[in-house]
Amino acid sequence: MDAALPSRSSVLRSRILGHAGLMTGLVLLAAALVCAIFAPLLSPHDPYFQDLSARLVPPVWHPRGDWLHPLGTDNLGRDYLSRTIYGARVSLLIGLSVMVVSGLIGTAMGLAAGYFGGRTDMVVSFVVTARLAMPVVLVALAVVALVGGSLVVVIAVLGLLKWDRFAVVMRAATQQARAQDYVAAAKATGASTFRVLLGEVLPNILPQLVVVATLEMASAILLEAALSFLGLGVQPPLPSWGLMVSEAKAYMFFSFWMIAIPGTALGLLVLAINLVGDGIRDVAAPEGRA
């Protein structure tokens, strides 16, 4: 044996570090995560505190801005930096929860359809088609209008609506993996169907799952922003970036920063998640893996 062979983990590390897109995404995502987790420590003010004597203060780079409110204040005099930092919480919470809920539903359906085929496949495909016939935003609007908007309702509605891509991609990936010899080999060593599905098939379609999961997380975050913008998502005074954009639209021509700041935050977060997803797909396809 040659002793100088690099270990698997060091190969992986150098690949991650060498991937500019992945690194950019990871740094941005980490920043958003830090903001979300340590929001109370990082924000200079209480995001709910209204100071009507300091309404619409511009950011610090503006001639009228000052360091008391680095990103200015909104129409109710609330500190904009604090609200933006707290907004990361809402976005990430919704993105992650929706991804988990829809990921569980969609992956289970896709695995079952791809592996068992036949009637199971027909039923799942029908349900997926039926689901695709429903416009997400419209259904979400109707449900939220019916039961009222809140964080939990938004998560539930989006989670129960957005599993379609998981199901479709996992089904196709499972069909491919199912035909591999190692699945037959596992069965030949006495593995149960459950064990074959979770132990043999799932690990081999994980890269595809990760990519779909990141895409879906980004799209859930955007959908939440859209719903909040329309007034049917997260309810004020909770600081959600979509809500902030919505509140700012009346001041668009006088206080442009109010719409630009949460919009930029939203754009950067979605960009970061997509970069990470793409990066993981590149990095997680090692040599020798079909």
């Binding site: 010899d181 080999a185 030949a188 060593t189 006495g190 043999e200 081999n204 893996r289 079909a290």
Partner: protein, 321 residues
Amino acid sequence: MSALLSVEGLTVDLAVPAGTLHAVRDVSFEVARGETLCVVGESGCGKSMTALALMGLLPRNARRRARRLVFDGVDLAAASPARTNALRGAKLSMIFQEPMTALNPAYTIGNQLCEVYRRHKGGSRAAARERAAFLLGKVGIAAAGERLGQYPHQLSGGLRQRVMIAMALMCGPSLIVADEPTTALDVTIQAQILKLLKDLQAEFGMALVLITHDLGVVARIADRVAVMYAGEVVERGTAAQVFAAPRHPYTAGLIDCIPVPGRTKPGERLGAIPGTVPALVGTIEGCAFRQRCAFAQPACASAPPVHADAGHEWACVRGAA
């Protein structure tokens, strides 16, 4: 002789768009403990389907029927999925043709070997790892401890096939079904793997059903031979009987196809059997080989009689020469 595996009237039908494909037709054979049976035939003669049928791994569109399918006292035809799973990997193992794809790329060699052992025997991780390292040594892999931590893509084809053999041996099976285990390998590696199988068989006393198209392999390893053609066993007997006095014209043709160094002159045409295996869709009547057979006669249009001579059986209108 009490047979370890006894197969009688095994039939596999496949539902294909053109109708029903009779992949395996009324196949019977027996394997005694510690014995090697080679199933030989051309591509598409149903030998792989026979192996899969034994393991219960047939594709979804296939249907298996058998008058008798008994392994070590267990009726495989009537066994529940749980019962089958308990046998597979423990007493009944399989080695696949393609070592490049039969190992899961997501796990290390050690994980996959230990998994099989712990599934059937339980026990600690350490015990399973010890057994895995021991068997990797047995199948001729140096630095076994190090290999356990490697992934399949880090191993060559020959090494992977050795790992597959070690995996088949993990639980001390009494029968190994090997479906063309050397076909995907270099000739030099082929010989090593065959010798390895033979040695391990002698050491652990297991029976071996070897599916192959290579008569050279058969000559080297077989105790008994079953020659398959178009889904049927056309001739079976001990290796000595079949090689010394092939009775079925197909077997004789196959043996003629082997070039013999020294006897086959350079540039001389090798023996070949004209024509191809007939399509197995729909009903097949009479001897399936008669279109390609030099000795075909009108009587071949009806089912050929089975002749027997001291355990040597063949299905042909021509009796003992």
